[in-house]
Subunit: 340 residues, 2 copies
């Protein structure tokens, strides 16, 4: 193969026409004779020419690229969603730059600048610590939020699982399974989706006239994975072995749920007999651990699909789309950890 990239100018010379004409046939826009079209296409083929999208981007002020910001790509729900988005967008001729922010505000800001300066045509923001607003951007570009509340609603779509309903299903499942002393276990650093799940949890307590206090809401301080495992183990040791003050846990996600199940095993706590557990997400480990972890399954495919649809629309006809909030249904999956 030829080692240096050939430009439209050279194609023009080889074809005996102007660069304008070459550009027109490449983009199939404007008028030209069938004859020149064929000749040019042949030359392009022969020389293995492909258009320099950087130059095109600069000229057109669009890059056929979108950005995705995600807090942690190793998280099953996030990586599945991202993968699905990437797949769909590629089919539509877009490439996607995936930005793993590691929940770090500085990194997020740096990424945002980078994405902007790369003239991305759209941005999808998944989860994260605070509300996300396009004031963070100097230019107005189409923005879709997944699991992260947009600050303003102009030009911004918001898609998420029905966290409220999911949390209600989860909490109700614990009650139905016979748990009487129930807590929710979540992170101290919350996201909008976690808040929604907390609300669902609380509302079921109210509905059943069960008194609720801070003791029912356990927040894990920010720490690394290993420390978290120990923290949870200590918690279970105190509340399920020494004092038996808890017999049902709604884990805010399956990662915590699986950790609880593992620790319970180590501590000799009988699940589901003495402790019932339910999670959220339906990660692969949930179905593999024994007993299986009951959970609320999120439909990442649907979420990705909707996000891409709206984003593509917004890119094609900016501003015409009214801001939307879409809630994607979730499903209760019953497994051994709640007694099935």
């Amino acid at each position: 193969m030829n080692k240096k990239n050939i430009s439209i100018k050279e194609i023009a010379k080889l074809s005996g026409v102007s660069v304008a004409t070459v550009s027109r046939v490449i983009n199939n826009n404007g008028r030209f004779s069938e004859e020149t079209r064929k000749r040019i296409l042949k030359i392009i083929e022969e020389n293995n020419y492909s258009t320099n999208v950087i130059a095109k981007s600069l000229r057109m002020k669009k890059s056929n690229t979108i950005g995705i910001m995600v807090p942690d790509i190793s998280n099953f729900f996030f990586s599945s969603t991202v993968q699905e988005i990437e797949r769909i967008m590629f089919e539509q001729g877009y490439s996607t730059i995936i930005c793993n922010t590691a929940r770090n505000i500085d990194k997020e800001t740096a990424y945002l600048r980078m994405l902007e300066s790369k003239m991305i045509d759209g941005l999808i923001v998944i989860s994260g610590l605070r509300e996300f607003g396009i004031e963070n951007m100097s230019k107005q570009i189409p923005l879709i939020c997944i699991d992260r509340k947009p600050k303003d609603n102009d030009n911004t779509a918001f898609i998420e699982s029905d966290h409220l309903e999911g949390a209600k299903l989860a909490t109700t499942e614990l009650i139905n399974a016979g748990a009487t002393k129930i807590i929710i276990m979540m992170h101290a650093l919350t996201s909008s989706s976690q808040e929604a799940r907390l609300n669902g949890f609380v509302s079921v307590f109210k509905q059943h006239h069960i008194p609720i206090s801070d003791h029912n809401i356990v927040k894990i301080p920010k720490m690394n994975k290993e420390e978290e495992v120990i923290y949870i183990k200590n918690f279970l040791q105190n509340n399920c072995v020494l004092s038996k003050s808890i017999n049902g846990i709604f884990a805010i996600n399956d990662s915590i749920g699986v950790t609880i199940l593992k620790d319970a095993k180590t501590l000799g706590i009988n699940v589901p007999h003495n402790l019932k557990v339910i999670g959220f997400d339906d990660i692969p480990e949930a179905s593999i651990i024994t007993p299986g972890l009951s959970t609320i399954k999120q439909d990442y495919r649907e979420i990705a699909k909707r996000a891409c649809e709206i984003l593509l629309n917004n890119i094609k006809s900016p501003g015409t789309i009214t801001p939307i909030k879409q809630e994607i249904p979730v499903t209760l999956i019953k497994r051994g950890s709640t007694g099935t």
Copy 2:
């Protein structure tokens, strides 16, 4: 914030200097007085200017972007490696475009063209079906292969886990655990890493003077995940329940290993008593399933680190780096599936 991007030209006008000077202070190259430097920097700050990297890329013929091709981002080893590479490269000021090829040659080709036309400064190719060569590219750009053999060795580094050694460790572990009728279970569509593992498997048979035939090598035809689960279940049914012709399996990866363990449970096969299993990768599920799946752990952090080091070197001084093949050590992890 201002809604339209401000250019270097406007900064120049506001500062009362030429664009050349602005460019010089931004890039801190060339000479200029401290006074003008301060003034320009202030104006830049005030106007929230950031440089248009598309224009810069076009001019410089480099994009500060690298590409990664990966067959399946939902695979734990791949996604961990990719994530680590992205993290390191971002620290070095590079953004990375992740291309999920889904083991599809057409998609791979399309991605390659796209990456080239985006003027990527380097490319990392992870795994894949065939050998990978830079003849696939029209321009010569630094290339690193991970788990995929480069076709030529010019300017190409090759990094992989020590698959051969890993496979030897795995096979030996099965023998030590008392398995006497051992097979390797792999995919029909192989990659260079799978071939290496097969070689390791075979060499241990030879070393122990155990006769080996095609019956010891089971290749799963290309099919989707669900079909594969059924295929494996049928296989176990025939060979571990009906005929007991097999009591040890080296699964080419943990995904297959976990499937075997799940199916064994369903079929009532006693692991490790009647069947010993070992995998490769050390995915999270391996430590969660009961019994735990013994496996060979790959050091994805080290692999990512080496890949980035070499790539960065290659980008900075093209051609000066001699082609290298690096083999990263692996570790045997013993769990319940081989009797520990």
